[in-house]
Symmetry: C2
Subunit: 350 residues, 2 copies
DNA sequence: TGCTGCATTTGTAACGATCCAAATGGCCGG
DNA sequence: CCGGCCATTTGGATCGTTACAAATGCAGCA
């Protein structure tokens, strides 16, 4: 039935035009649903499009129209579930707007980031969503993307960023407020000796979370022992390894605000290995609310960031910028929500 | 220093040509590193490129050369860590070959899959890597991508696929052999009553894993009770919910081969809730070796699929196909490796 | 009949790159 | 001094689409 053995070359708009004796211009109008074309003509053309199996060449159209139909998404770590969810959200919104997503991942390497950005920019995305690699430099990024490319920075800041060159929008989580809420929650439960566990001191998100923690402690008039600030890679494995450091000093904490969920889960494991029972004799909070948080043992009290929503939001913000290139840059801070589960118990009776 | 306030229009090759009194053709040759150009000329042109902040327009070049510099990656569930790792692997290899990845995710909906494929195809990728949505139909996919688009199917089969129309390559995990290995491992430990837990009966990977399980059981002369075959959504949560079903009949199993790691971890949780201790009085194996498998409690015996490697492999296979479009289609089965950890214990002494 | 107005349709020049055949200019041998 | 050769450069057509101004045809009306 109507099988046309389409062999070599791709079908173009000229083929369609020739196939039903109209001009290329008319076919183009049909493709774009213009009301100018006669409805009988339109029908003939559409039939021919179907018959020949035409596929639109958006690259050619974009070239002529000087438009773009893609956005680039560059992530420091796609394999991380947080960013994977984020990416899914971005793609969902981007696709909803009729765009496609160009993906790039940098594996936390500023050098790769530069290369990836360079390569993606050549493909002419309308804008870029970037979650920078650790140590990524503002001037380098700017050089790679150019000063007129709409750019949305997610989740982290760039090193050496000064207001004069920063033409980009940002979307960040409310790290400080989140850590503050977690700390206040533990304080309300009766804890007095609370640690801040995990993360790299020099990452911007870690700095902000520590700051929130410190403020809450200070506001409650509680001391912070220096050995309660434990650094670790933001992974389960390294967190488990660093557990012992918490109990190295003479005054042991009874609770810990963790840098993120991965670290919190690692700490749980480490506690079990030290013979302690998280959720019974030690309270823990996380950050992110990853899928495992609700089924860990015990279920983890944490700050929900809803990464998929953040992805959609990031895409929406970038689309905004595409439509209004000349509005002043915006800095959005997404609220986070405290989700209380069993890992945050009161301190053991003194 | 040398800051040229580049305002509106993008810099094109003509601008460079004009800027140093050579023809566009010469600039083009320089861009592509042709040995034809005089090295003094090349230097002048390169200086001008830098000075004006030129960025290559790959879309225009692709149009003229009738080539492509992208591949499309369409996933049924990007938020799943297995696919996120896979995507990271694909992107790594694709970027290494100087291509970019066009991302699409379908949220397990065949309708969205069709739309996403249609949209991506218009952007002219050189080929497509597709992990189909559940229930995705072969003819529909074929209609969306056309019969000449290089296509690699990953992880699942398409419904209604018949050899006459299947021009695509495939890359699959060795599901059957993997489940067989897991089952044999449990049998070697002394288990006789072994269940197969989780997954959707009609997904191709679940069928294959069940088949491997059945073969191993049969080869060992062991019975399979019907209530030992428990279905669940492939998620932790639903798996935890279905746990009770395992112990509904009169003969309870002492071990379970799980559809995948998520299910296995859910089952662990369910067992704890039923007062059993996985790794002590009940043995469990998973499938995938996701990151959590090594830090769960107890650490999970599972089949390692190395999704990132699969991603690289998928990209490599597709690149192969791009270079040799006329070689016969290939069906690759990636081996899996049994990783023994503490979750697979011997049966409790009778 | 000639003119205007409307609904359609169309030719042609772009968009930014590449391909190709042909031009340029310098140098060498005869 | 000329022809030929080499190394280099170049104009113009082209990829598949869209913008735009202009053409077409037909109906209505004075």
């Amino acid at each position: 039935m109507g099988s046309t053995p389409q062999v070599r070359r791709k079908v173009t708009l000229s083929d369609i035009a020739a196939g039903c004796n109209v001009s290329r211009a008319t076919v183009s109008l049909v493709l774009r649903g213009s009301p100018l074309v006669n409805k009988h003509t339109r029908a003939r053309v559409e039939e021919e499009l179907r018959r020949q199996g035409y596929v639109y060449n958006r690259a050619a159209a974009n070239l002529r129209r000087r438009t773009s139909s893609s956005i680039a998404l560059v992530l420091n770590d796609l394999a991380n579930p947080f960013f994977a969810e984020f990416a899914a959200g971005v793609d969902e919104a981007v696709a909803g707007a009729g765009f496609v997503t160009l993906l790039g991942s940098t594996a936390e390497s500023p050098a790769r980031e530069e290369a990836v950005l360079g390569s993606l920019v050549e493909h002419g995305p309308g804008g870029i969503i970037l979650s920078p690699a650790e140590g990524s430099d503002a001037r380098k990024v700017l050089a790679a993307v150019g000063s007129h490319m709409p750019l949305l920075l997610f989740n982290r800041e760039l090193d050496g960023s000064v207001p004069e060159i920063a033409h980009w929008d940002t979307l960040a989580l409310d790290n400080q407020r989140g850590a503050q809420m977690a700390t206040e929650h533990l304080i309300a439960l009766g804890h007095k000796r609370i640690a801040f566990f995990g993360g790299h001191r020099d990452s911007s998100s870690c700095r902000q979370r520590r700051e929130g923690y410190r403020q809450a402690m200070h506001a409650a008039g509680l001391r912070v022992e220096s050995h309660w600030m434990v650094e670790s890679a933001p992974t389960r494995l390294d967190a488990a390894r660093q557990t012992a450091a918490l109990f190295a000093g003479k005054t042991s904490p009874t609770a810990a605000v963790c840098y993120n969920d991965a670290v919190a889960l690692g700490l749980m494991l480490g506690l079990y290995q030290h013979g302690r029972r998280p959720g019974h004799d030690f309270a823990i909070t996380g950050f992110d609310d990853i899928a495992e948080a609700q089924v860990s043992m015990p279920p983890l009290t944490t700050l929900s960031t809803v990464p998929r929503e953040r992805g959609k939001q990031a895409a929406a913000l970038l689309m905004q910028r595409l439509q209004h290139p000349d509005t002043p840059v915006g800095h959005t801070i997404a609220p986070v929500k405290l989700v209380v589960r069993e890992s945050s118990c009161p301190p053991p009776a003194a």
